[in-house]
Amino acid sequence: MAENDPVVTADEGQRGVSRRNFIKGVIAAGAAVSTTSYLFRGGSILGQPSLPGAVERLVTLNVNGQQRRVDVMKQETLAMTLRYKLGLTGTKLGCDRSECGACTVLIDDVPHYSCSILTHSVRGRKVVTIEGLASPTGQLHPVQQAVVDAQGFQCAFCMPGFVMATVGYLKTNPNPTRPELAHGISGNLCRCQDYNKILDAMMLAAEYTRRSSRA
């Protein structure tokens, strides 16, 4: 049964034995164990009558175009689920208080702080993380390509959040002025204080995005 669980097969495309992938493997295995134990004793819980609006523990999420079944606590935030249950560690946790933007993901194409939304709230909605931007063949998203070309970041801890915020903002305003873009992605902090360089990269990202949508 566990072999069919997408949680377990999440990272099978990656065969490297880097520290990062080893950690992700451990996370995925842990999630599979907790999911399995839930299934074994699920029957007795499901029979109980519930109040309107009651939520189930086992949910299916649409993450990066895949249906992911996952066991979610009621108080769990999306950032926790993405990082520690689904192994999508590209989404960073900075402040965990909606004050830094490192955890930004797209929900139905709109940027949200994943640290500040319950995983149960995104059922039936389309979640895209930094891992979901590149094409299946590995071609980078125009915003990612611009970041690489312009060398936009220094330490880059904030980068996934900035990239997701920019991708979301460009969907509402594909041709921003520099001040408009600065306002549009003002919900993200960079502690290297590299904002001018980030804005240079993201203005290039806007140009690449326009070009790729015309192509």
């Binding site: 009621k74 208080r97 933007g101 940027p111 702080y113 640290c115 500040s116 939304i117 709230s121 549009g184």
Partner: protein
């Protein structure tokens, strides 16, 4: 206080699909229930373990509370409309540009994408003694830590302090008061409509609450009458950083003039008391006066009458005086309509 970064303590979660279900849950759990809209205020309380509700009623699935509708010559805004949706709505832009400015001035883009107008007006104060779990008056204790000789109270109240010196942090609240908005509140026992001005309460009425909402009550909509549509608006927010920060002081005014004379106006401030303050005395004094520097100067001076600054917030007096002055006189190029 150390910031805790693990998973919040457990609570029972309900995500009702409509208002009826939400009200029945709120009625069932009463004061054990925590109403969550966008969650941006709620999560701080829950993550910091300062508030430990047994039950969270999350309104994310109540789609009937979302959206802006024309209502006569005014608007009805569902309480779960996000600030971003409000800012982008053509009717808001066309008729009540000031509300757009106020909503756009709040927090950060991601917060506006999720935070709702209902949550923005119903949020709790940001006094850090209270938010950090100190047992102050507002938390049920018998001291105000922000009003002691060594307290850090730069952001606190200059008006109407009654034991507690916390301030209301909402940016949309003064705009809604100036626009004479009505708050539609529902519970299992029916519907009541409250003027925006009276929706917010100070410590003298109830020191533990910021609004008239009691356990079991739900703010469902905000109605803005057409009275002030397209009139002359002024909104300004002063804060430390351009993003995220709550107002040190903000001001909102609506005005109708005729031949350089102020015919009628409404004027409100926030960040100066536990509730947004409507400046009725100033309104009465400038009505019928010419709209000029002299009237504005008088209005500014009147606005700070009776103010009682604390040790570190004396700067709010000149700030209020000048913001009110600008709101009356106007600043060239800054009119929203």
């Amino acid at each position: 206080m150390a910031v805790i970064r693990d998973v919040m303590p457990a609570f029972e979660l309900f995500q009702p699909a409509n208002v009826e279900e939400a009200l029945s849950l709120l009625n069932r759990y009463k004061s054990d229930a925590w109403v969550m809209a966008g969650g941006l205020d709620s999560f701080d309380w829950l993550k910091d373990r300062i508030k430990r509700p047994k039950v969270v009623v999350d309104l994310v699935g109540v789609k009937e509370l979302e959206g802006v509708r024309a209502s006569g010559d005014g608007l009805e805004i569902g309480a779960m409309t996000t600030l971003t949706d409000l800012v982008r709505h053509p009717l808001v832009r066309e008729k009540f540009g000031m509300l757009l400015e106020a909503a756009e001035a709040a927090a950060s883009p991601q917060i506006r994408n999720q935070g709702t107008i209902g949550g923005n007006v119903s949020q709790d104060t940001r006094c850090w003694y209270y938010r950090d779990g100190w047992e102050c008056y507002r938390a049920g204790g018998n001291i105000c830590y922000a009003d002691t000789p060594t307290a850090m109270n730069r952001e606190h109240a200059i008006f109407d302090a009654d034991r507690c010196v916390a301030v209301n942090p909402s940016d949309t609240a003064p705009a809604l008061i100036a626009l004479d908005a009505k708050m539609v509140i529902r519970s299992t026992s029916g519907e009541q409509i409250v003027d925006a001005e009276h929706y917010f309460i100070g410590p003298g009425i109830d020191i533990t609450r910021m609004t008239v909402l009691k356990p079991g009550d739900l703010l469902v909509a905000i109605r803005i009458p057409g009275t002030w549509a397209g009139s002359q608006f002024y909104f300004e927010k002063v804060r430390d950083r351009k993003v995220w920060d709550f107002p040190l002081v903000n001001v909102a005014s609506v005005m109708k003039t005729s031949g350089g004379t102020i015919q009628d106006l409404r004027l409100a401030l926030n960040g100066v008391a536990a509730h947004p303050v409507r400046l009725r005395a100033v309104e009465a004094a400038v009505r019928g006066k010419p709209r000029n520097e002299q009237t504005a100067e008088m209005a500014g001076l009147m606005a700070i009458e009776g103010a009682k600054p604390l040790r570190h917030n004396g700067y709010k007096l000149p700030l209020v005086r000048n913001l009110v002055k600008r709101a009356i006189r106007g600043v060239e190029g800054s009119w929203t309509s």
